[in-house]
């Protein structure tokens, strides 16, 4: 599943390990001048679908989690947190918390739908624009500088939910 995730993963990893990561290990500090974001050459192909028949999963990198069920993400870890949390799509927004130190949470705490549009998605299901909404929402903390760990840890965890919930389509909303 990782072949096309990043088509220059080997060179990216070498650059990351010798630069950003080595500096972190040596100094316990972050130097973003040493970091480069992934740039792919290849695109990924996939057939379109009929949204009105699709089962949709929302994946959010807001750091949202359900404190009554799960522990928070390790938001202070400068190496990132590559685990996921799940919570029912029917969860009242007032029951959610956010563990993510890398964005201003003012907006999402005023109105969760700026990152978690669950009421809007339910409306679209009611109007038959979307076939159905997954019973589960997937969340992670979108501070993940180590691409190899995203591929080895975050991706398989999300893919497992996709399979378990018989998902046709995924809406990804970064924070």
């Amino acid at each position: 599943m990782s072949k096309l995730t990043s088509d220059n993963l080997e060179s990216w990893t070498e650059h990351f390990q010798k630069g950003w990561l080595k500096n972190f290990v040596d100094t316990k500090s972050i130097d973003w001048k040493l970091y480069k974001y992934v740039r792919n050459e290849q695109t990924v192909a996939g057939k379109g679908l009929d949204l009105s028949k699709a089962r949709l999963l929302l994946v959010s990198s807001s750091g949202a989690y359900l404190p009554s069920k799960d522990k928070p993400f390790h938001a202070a870890n400068l190496l990132g947190d590559y685990t996921i949390r799940t919570f029912p799509a029917s969860t009242p927004f007032s029951e959610l918390e956010y563990a993510h130190d890398h964005y201003d949470q003012t907006a999402v705490r005023k109105d969760a739908q700026v990152l978690l549009p669950l009421n809007h998605l339910r409306d679209l299901v009611d109007k038959k624009v979307i076939g159905s909404l997954s019973e589960t929402v997937v969340s992670f903390m979108g501070y993940q500088p180590w691409v190899g760990r995203v591929i080895k840890k975050t991706l398989p965890a999300i893919h497992k939910i996709v399979q378990e919930e018989a998902i046709d389509a995924v809406l990804l909303v970064p924070s």
Binding site: M1, S2, K3, L4, T5, S6, Y37, V38, R39, N40, Q42, T43, V44, A45, G46, K47, G48, L49, D50, L51, A54, L56, V59, S61, Y103, D104, Q105, T106, A107, V108, K110, D111, Q113, V114, L115, P117, H120, L121, L124, V129, I130, G142, V147, V150, I151, T154, L155, I158, H159, V162, I167, D168, A169, V170, L171, L172, V173, P174, S175
Partner: protein
């Protein structure tokens, strides 16, 4: 998010995303994406601006009906 979208698409799951970060998304090349000029932390729109949130959401979801790769769709939302 773009990397996860690519991997899921490769596994046969259709994906779409919206982002305020055009630079990173252009580099990653996800299968389908909309780009806005909204701010970090309010990816779908301003708090309690349901009309804007619904516009961004619907424009992003509509892309699922198209075969990927789809050229990045820039939305006039800020």
């Amino acid at each position: 998010m773009g990397l996860i979208a690519r991997a899921l698409e490769e596994a046969g799951i259709r994906t779409t995303l919206t982002s305020w970060n055009a630079g990173i998304i252009r580099g990653i090349k996800p299968p389908r994406a909309t780009i806005t000029a909204l701010q970090r932390g309010m990816t779908l729109g301003h708090p309690h601006d349901e009309a804007q949130q619904k516009r961004v959401l619907m424009e992003t979801l509509k892309l699922l009906e198209l075969d990927a790769p789809v050229d990045l769709v820039r939305l006039n939302e800020k």
